[in-house]
C-alpha cells in the first residue's frame, strides 16, 4: 500500500456543533491535517446516505459525519435519526467490500475543538495505509 497517499476526507459537519468545533480548533490554533473537505450541514440528521455514497463516488477516500451529542441536537432529535441511518450504512459498506475505516461518525460539540482534531488525525492515520478509495470512485 502507498503510505505516501494523502487521503481526501469529506466531512459533513453539523452547523450547530461539529462545524463550530472545527472552528474552535482553528481559533485555538490546534493543528490538524489539511485532508478534510468540510461541508457544513444544518444537522447530522439531514445527511442522506446518498451524500456519503456520492462523496465516495466523486473521489473521497474517507467520509465523516459529525453531529451533536445525544440530547444536544438543535432540532431535538435529528442526530438520533442520523444514528440509525448511519448504523445501517456502516454495516452495508464493508459488506460490499469497502474498508470499514473509510466511513466514520462522531459526536463533536462546539466546545470540543481538541476532540475534532484528534478524530481527524486518527482518521487520516487510518486511511493512509489503505491507499486511494477506488471501489466507488467514478473514473471516466
Amino acid at each position: 500500500m502507498n503510505s505516501e497517499h494523502e487521503p481526501k476526507i469529506v466531512a459533513f459537519l453539523c452547523k450547530w456543533c461539529s462545524s463550530a468545533g472545527s472552528d474552535m480548533a482553528g481559533v485555538s490554533r490546534l493543528e490538524y491535517p489539511s485532508n478534510v473537505i468540510p461541508i457544513t450541514v444544518m444537522c447530522s440528521g439531514s445527511v442522506s446516505p446518498l451524500y456519503i455514497l456520492s462523496a465516495f463516488n466523486l473521489g473521497a477516500d474517507g467520509v465523516l459525519v459529525s453531529g451533536c451529542h445525544p440530547g444536544d441536537c438543535h432540532y431535538i432529535k435529528g442526530n438520533m435519526y442520523a444514528r440509525r441511518r448511519m448504523a445501517l450504512l456502516k454495516e452495508l459498506l464493508p459488506y460490499i467490500g469497502l474498508e470499514p475505516e473509510r466511513f466514520q461518525m462522531s459526536w463533536v460539540s462546539a466546545a470540543e475543538g481538541l476532540k475534532f482534531t484528534q478524530i481527524i488525525k486518527e482518521f487520516v492515520k487510518q486511511l493512509k495505509p489503505l491507499g486511494p478509495q477506488t471501489q466507488l470512485r467514478r473514473s471516466l
Binding site: 444514528r83 440509525r84 464493508p94 459488506y95 467514478r138
Partner: protein, 343 residues
C-alpha cells in the same frame, strides 16, 4: 388448500356489487402455464383468475401504479381496488400504509396463503424440465410442487424448485387482508438468508471482488426498480431529469436537478445505484424478491436487501411490513440504539 373458485367468487361479488373498480390478480399468460398480472374489470372475466405456484409477481406494484394514475385523472373512480396478496405482498401493503402512500380503504385485500410452500423459480424448474412440455403447475402436499408434463404428474420437493425468497421466508401468509383463502400453516424456522452468511464469511477483498463481478454486469435496465412497489418515488436519484415537471417549474429548477450518478453503466455508478437503492429500501423491503427475479443479468440483488433486513433486526429489532401502525424504521429511534460505532 387455496381454492381458486373461492377467490373468483369473491372477485365476482365485489365487481357485481360495484364495490371495487377492479380486481388485480393473476391470469394464465400467453406462454402457457406461467401466470401474469392482470386487472379484471368485468365480472364475466373473473374466471380468468388463477392461483398456482407460478403466481410470482408482487401485485402491490399495480396498486402503486393505479394510485399514480388516479392522481393524473381529472375525475378518478374512487372505488377501492381488490388485489390478490401473498404473505410478502401483504407486508408491502403495510409499508405503503405506514408511509401513508395509500389508505386502508383504498384496497380490498384478497389474501392467499402460500401454505408451507411458495412460488416457483422458473429458472430452477426449467433446468429440470423443458418449458414447452409443462401443461400445468400446481401445489401438492407438504409444500411440494407438481408439474404436469405430457399428462404425467411430476412432484418436486420445494427446495428444488421454489424461489429462494420462499425457501427463506418465515411469514408465508398475509399479515393484513380482508378475505383470506387457504390455511395459516406456520413454516418451520430456517436460515433466512444463507447467501448473506456466505458473504459475511468472506474476506473484505473477496466481497469486493464478488460484488464487482456481479454489479459489472448491470445494464441499468432498471427492471429491479420498476418492479418494486417500494420504488414509487416520482423523482429518483438515477434519473437525469425529474418527472415532476409542471408548467410552472422554472428552467433553473430543472437545470439544478442534481445528476447524482452517470447514466453509463460504469461499475462505480452501478455500485452507487444499487447501494442507494438498498439503503432506501432498508426497513421497507419486504423481500418479495421481485428485483432479483426480474434481473436479466442474474444479479443477486436480494443479498443487499437481506443484509439490511438482518441488520435492522439485529440492531433495532425491526421487521418491515409487520405493522401498519408502527413507525417505520427510519422515522423513529430508541435512546438505546447502538452507537458503539460513533466516536
Amino acid at each position: 388448500m387455496v381454492e381458486v373458485e373461492k377467490i373468483r367468487e369473491e372477485a365476482r361479488r365485489l365487481l357485481q356489487e360495484g364495490q371495487v373498480r377492479g380486481v388485480i390478480g393473476y391470469v394464465r399468460g400467453p406462454q402457457g402455464v406461467w401466470a401474469v398480472p392482470a386487472m379484471i374489470r368485468n365480472p364475466e372475466d373473473v374466471d380468468r383468475l388463477v392461483w398456482n405456484p407460478t403466481c410470482v409477481h408482487n401485485l402491490v406494484l399495480f396498486v402503486v401504479e393505479e394510485k399514480k394514475e388516479q392522481a393524473r385523472q381529472k375525475e378518478p373512480d374512487k372505488r377501492p381496488l381488490a388485489v390478490v396478496v401473498k404473505g410478502c405482498d401483504s407486508r408491502a401493503i403495510n409499508v405503503l400504509l405506514q408511509e401513508k402512500f395509500i389508505e386502508r380503504e383504498e384496497v380490498i385485500l384478497l389474501g392467499v396463503s402460500c401454505e408451507n410452500s411458495g412460488v416457483v423459480d422458473k429458472k430452477k424448474l426449467l433446468n429440470l424440465v423443458p418449458s414447452q412440455k409443462i401443461e400445468e403447475i400446481v401445489y401438492g402436499n407438504n409444500g411440494h410442487i407438481v408439474a404436469v408434463i405430457d399428462g404425467e404428474r411430476r412432484v418436486f420437493p420445494p427446495e428444488e424448485v421454489l424461489a429462494d425468497r420462499c425457501l427463506e421466508c418465515q411469514a408465508n401468509f398475509p399479515v393484513v387482508y380482508d378475505h383470506f383463502f387457504g390455511e395459516k400453516i406456520k413454516k418451520e424456522a430456517i436460515n433466512t438468508s444463507p447467501g448473506v452468511d456466505k458473504i459475511e464469511k468472506m474476506r473484505l477483498e473477496e466481497r469486493r471482488r464478488f460484488w464487482e463481478e456481479e454489479l459489472s454486469r448491470c445494464l441499468r435496465c432498471y427492471a429491479c426498480r420498476s418492479v418494486c412497489p417500494m420504488c414509487y418515488c416520482t423523482e429518483c436519484v438515477v434519473d437525469p431529469i425529474s418527472f415532476a415537471v409542471e408548467p410552472t417549474t422554472t428552467a433553473e429548477e430543472k437545470a439544478k436537478k442534481i445528476k447524482w450518478i452517470e447514466k453509463s453503466p460504469l461499475l462505480s455508478e452501478n455500485f452507487v445505484y444499487h447501494l442507494v437503492r438498498a439503503i432506501h429500501l432498508a426497513g421497507r423491503c419486504v423481500d418479495c424478491g421481485e428485483c432479483e427475479r426480474v434481473c436479466p443479468e442474474d444479479i443477486p440483488i436480494r443479498l443487499l436487501n437481506k443484509k439490511l433486513e438482518r441488520e435492522a433486526w439485529r440492531l433495532f429489532n425491526y421487521v418491515a411490513g409487520m405493522d401498519s401502525q408502527a413507525p417505520s424504521l427510519f422515522s423513529t429511534f430508541k435512546e438505546t440504539d447502538p452507537e458503539d460505532f460513533i466516536r
